[in-house]
Amino acid sequence: MATLAPVVMAVDASPRRVLMVYSFGRDFMPYAATGIQFRSELARLSPQPVEFRDASLEQARFDAPGRDGPLLDYLRAVYAEHRPDLIVPIGAQAAMFLQRHRQELFPEAPLLLVGVDDRRLRGMLSEPGVTSVGLDMDVSRFVGNILEVRPNTRDIYVVIGTSPLEKFWEQAFRREWAQFSDRVTLHWWSDRSIAEVRESARNLPPDSAVLVTVVNLDVDGIPFEHEAALRSISPASSAPVFGIIREQLGLGIVGGRLVSQGKIGFEAAKHAVRLLAGEPAANLPVQQLTLDPPAYDWRELERWGISESSLPLGSEVLYRSPGLWEEYRGHVLIALGIMALQAVLILLLLAARRHARESEANLSLAAEFGNVGLWQLATGSDGDGVKATPKFRSLFGLPPSGRITVEDILDRIHPDDRSDTEKAIQNAVNDVEDFSVEHRMVLPDVGLRWIASTGHADVSREGRPARVRGASIDITAIRKAEMERQSLRTELTHLSRVSTMGQLSSALAHELNQPLGAILRNAEAAELLLEQEPTDWDELKAIVKDIQQDDQRAVSVIDRMRSLLMKRELQIEPISLDRVVHLVIGLLKSELQFRRVHLAVELESGLPWVRGDAIHLQQVMLNLLANALDAIRDVPSERRRVAVRAKRLESNRVEVAVCDRGTGIPEERLQRVFEPFVSTKTKGMGMGMGLAICRSIVETHGGRLWAENNPEGGATVRFTLIAVQEATQK
């Protein structure tokens, strides 16, 4: 069959039937744009004519589970004879509907899921004949968009509809935007009709923004096609209006990184052509589009006084429409300029030569004083000659006079940095780009130097690159200071680890002497047994086996200590928090027993892995636990309890808490305990660096660390870490 299929198709010129199933009506956002693009692109690409049929799950607008019946009957009736060649559900509701009924309706036709977000795709791809062109949206960008261009924003009013689709997204947004709760307050306007939203938006406090997400159906049950809600809100709003979909741009939103629904349709059409040509769905990769590069509406930027310089790098600004003055400003200025020029030209010409000479001298003086080497690289017909100031020549160890070439300069650059530097110069010359590069040089008698160079390319009148001018400066001292600081930090972190281990040394010696003592007694017993007649070989064998086991025990104690005593740089990778906690508890086992402390470990099940350095996080745990043990040193035995808890937070974070029932931290010290050399312990008990180092380690991991007193007595120190997505766990 498989080999015959293409032959049959080549003969067959009858139209291909594509059934598009919309999650709402076909004019509702966000899927309308997807559908339009898909249709036009597929019609263009397909070698055969394509016959599009539409169906939509009108009932998906409402909370109506189990009301698949009428649509099912309809599809069965219409397509009983004219079986479609491809089924294209658009949106998650339609995808789920077909997931449920594909077997009874169209078991043979391939299924192309379009516009389904990764969050909802799970389990949908397990059946054969199914592929997907969907989305993997970083929805935190939508709030990020606002804060990027309006960093002072305090309140964001979120406009969202009330259909099941919109309710799903409201949940997702609430979860993933919780991370912004310390910067902005989110107001959820899902409980207001669009008419009410429009009125409320007229009088918003300063530093507000409106975020229009998906509105197909408002709380009063009024449907909105083609972004009608946005069109109604934006003109009335007293605060900038932002959106999430690329197709909203131009309809009254400021802009940002947005989801392009049209692009999804466009990409899906490419899949559809191959499926219609008989290619199995398994051959087609599941595609997930991410957000578009930032784009903004010039009119909205003007309306809200947002400067283009505050937009993220590489932003596209659309819909520029200059005003009258701006349109004619050029003409006026040119006219004025010509008159002024005529008057001044003669004077200028006279002054210019002198002035040029003076400013060049000034510049050289300043450059010389600032240890900056200046250079100029001519390109094209002038060859690759380099003009350079004496300072530059001395920086690069070049002779004070004579011709120098690019090659001469490159020869002096450290071999590891040479190719990067060469590439940067080439790019500057070929593409007329500014360039900036840092490289090392090894000069005889001077040693290793770090040089930073920056340059600017000029264009000739014909639009070709004419020359590159630039400046170079010796940054060795800065680099050295940076490296010194880094190594001091590593040193300090290591020292603190060693000192914590020192506090545990008595417990660790105990743990080590246990197996060593057993080995010694066994060996002495064996010595005596060997002298006896007859020799008890069974007993001797048992002794040797015990000695081996105790030796292993001793080795594992040493291993645990050694990894913590090693000095090393930070290595961040996905690690299991569970393992970190249990390694540290292993180290503290004897200490806990000595001090007769009850330790409770409550790690939430299914805890995700975190991004971190295993040793440094062990150090944090060890330090916090050692502090907790010190805090309960002098309390009655029933209060000698310490708990370690870990749980998943919203917004992809994990929180770890170390909780004791000790004496607590005096309120006025709660903030200060994280400063270096501040300690609540008795003199001689600690140097007061532990918590400062812990905080710096956690912050390097992108987390937070803080302390609080428990209402029932004692203190809790908490820290957060960034969770790893399940898929990347090793």
Partner: protein, 221 residues
């Protein structure tokens, strides 16, 4: 009773060490009994056993020091040798004050450990003898009539017959008679002898002579 063979009782929660020290003691000719915890020993120990206890200082549940206290207050105390993975001064002082025979690390030399065990066994033997004598004595004192006991306590306080007669409200001749009977039941001729035996039997605390060399048990049966 003196036919009992001295036994070394070992108490340690570390199973591997317990096995090794058991083998070691056995190969050095001792009779060994091993226990995994202090509670286990207290529940299963043979009541009349002689010997000593070698015990780990750090154990979950009852630790070495509390075990020493409980054992010392029991009717059948035994000398204790402490073993520990790593000793600190504080606990070793507490252990020695509590009457421990010795306090050693688990990696201690063969000779140090053997020496400590030998001293503990010797001490058990001598304390046992004292306890037996005391037991016999107290039995004799227990056979006195109530009146004889009253007379005895006055005699031990150094009162004369005449004073005792007034104190007890009886005549001097009766005092003399009770006193003669009492002295013959105990089997002594002089008040000095009587006082010494009373001390051995633990009857009189006030009369203990300073510098008394006899180790006195705190309780008697």
């Amino acid at each position: 009773m003196s036919k009992l063979v001295p036994t070394v009782f070992v108490v340690d929660d570390d199973a591997s060490f317990l096995r090794s020290i058991g083998r070691w003691l056995h190969s050095h000719g001792y009779i060994v009994k091993s226990y995994g915890s202090a509670a286990d020993f207290l529940a299963r120990r043979p009541k009349q056993a002689t010997g000593c206890v070698v015990v780990d200082l750090h154990m979950p549940g009852m630790d070495g020091i509390s075990f020493q206290k409980v054992l010392g207050q029991s009717d059948h105390p035994l000398p204790v040798v402490f073993l520990t993975g790593h000793g600190d001064i504080q606990t070793s002082v507490a252990a020695m004050k509590g009457g421990a025979e010795d306090f050693l690390v688990k990696t201690a030399s063969k000779d140090a450990l053997l020496d400590a065990i030998e001293r503990a066994l010797a001490r058990d033997a001598s304390e046992r003898e004292v306890r037996l004598r005391q037991f016999a004595m107290s039995k004799r004192f227990a056979e006195l009539t109530p009146r004889e006991q009253e007379v005895l306590s006055h005699v031990l306080k150094g009162r004369l017959n005449k004073q005792i007669a007034i104190d007890l409200g009886i005549d001097e001749r009766s005092v003399k008679r009770h006193r003669t009977n009492m002295m013959s039941k105990i089997g002594v001729k002089s008040v000095a002898e009587l006082a010494q035996l009373a001390v051995v039997a633990g009857i009189s605390e006030e009369l203990r002579v300073p510098g008394d060399r006899l180790p006195l048990p705190t309780k008697h049966s």
